[in-house]
């Protein structure tokens, strides 16, 4: 390669490398702020700032959703597998909010600890499945569970 072009190529590589390092360091320094939400175990461990609006994300614990009679009040627990956090919320939940699915709640932490949420967002996964396939999978699971229960029942005298 022509020496002048070689020098220009080095300039190009230099620009990309230096800006990568700079922006890499900046995002590393901001890594907590880059997260949209805290996890329930971080809240339980007390590593989360108090008296500021925070977001907590996790799986909605099965059978934990309780709706207040005669109002839009609802409470549920979020889990990340290690810790659980109680959330109180008054308002309309998104369509995709469901037990056993991920959700993000935003609000202020109260003693307990419990989150007094003013916004609840549903987080969905990257899987897309037609309804018939889901039904087929459910029946398949049910059938297998029944078979396994049968097999266990017959093996224990």
């Amino acid at each position: 390669m022509h020496p002048v072009r070689k020098r220009r190529l080095l300039v190009v590589v230099f620009i990309v490398v230096v800006s990568s390092i700079g922006i890499g360091l900046a995002t590393y320094a901001l890594r907590q702020n880059m997260n949209l939400f805290y996890t329930p175990s971080q809240v339980v461990a007390g590593t989360v700032p108090e008296d500021v609006r925070i977001r907590v994300g996790g799986m909605v614990v099965r059978d934990s959703v309780m709706r207040a009679a005669g109002s839009l009040g609802v409470s549920f627990r979020l889990t990340d597998g290690n810790g659980e956090l109680l959330v109180h919320y008054t308002g309309i939940l998104p369509d995709l909010f469901a037990e056993g699915q991920a959700a993000v709640a935003a609000g202020y932490l109260r003693s307990g600890p419990a989150l007094e949420a003013d916004q609840v967002l549903a987080k969905h996964d990257e899987n897309y499945t037609p309804p018939e396939v889901v039904d087929a999978m459910k029946t398949g699971h049910a059938a297998r569970a029944a078979r396994e229960a049968d097999a266990q029942g017959s093996s224990t005298p």
Binding site: R5, R8, L9, V11, V12, I15, V16, S19, S20, I23, G24, T27, R31, M34, N35, L36, F37, Y38, T39, G57, L93, P94, D95, L96, F97, A98, V104, Q119, V120, L121, A122, K123, H124, D125, E126, N127, Y128, T129, P130, P131, E132, V133, V134
Partner: protein, 251 residues
Amino acid sequence: MARKWQWFHRLGSPPGFYRASGYWLPWLAVAAALLLGVGLVWGLVYAPPDARQGNSFRIIYIHVPVSFLALAGYYVMAAAGAVHLIWRMKLADMVMTAAAPLGAALTFLALWSGAVWGKPTWGTYWVWDARITSMLVLLFLYLGMVALRLGFSNREAAGRACAVLALVGTVNIPIIYKSVDWWYSLHQPATIRLTAAPSMHPDMFKPLLVMIVGFYVFYALVLILNTRAEILARERRTGWVRDLAAGRNQR
């Protein structure tokens, strides 16, 4: 100079590219129209709805392809910028100029379709999530490229400044890609991965694939159209453009 490079130098000259691309355009236009038409009807009418999201999931057939091209288009623009910086190739500068508004439009569409998809699924149009915010940064990078070009009266200086901005901005592209894996984010991880099967039912995935290929062809079509207009604008005083305008032995 070796003979095998002749075609490259002919194609690399603005009039050579203008002439050659004139033959490609009809094919690209027909292919883009066919692919996008088939993908659209397939995705909107024949693909099954998602079990949890219902029909709002059909926004994926516009959201994912435009997002793909918004990111891939940045690499096209930055590569053209690097070629221009190293070899001072005029055509590369024109391609870089042509890619900026196209990328901005596609990034805007990615953000827009994401917002109207977010409302029925997540419960909000907008959230300052790492993926969405880095995509907004991409939009500003594209718009910055357009603005920077307008800010210079000297074309040489403008080309070099834009190339540097394009190269610096490339850092943002892997951040956008990996943001959903590196940080806790509301946006779901990628459905289509190079290393694994798509986490999507084949009946839903095939129309998506058609749309993605269709958008790649559409991108090539518009990039060439923009580049051709840019060539004419810069070479309007040359003999070959005068011949072209007067309809003298030109295509």
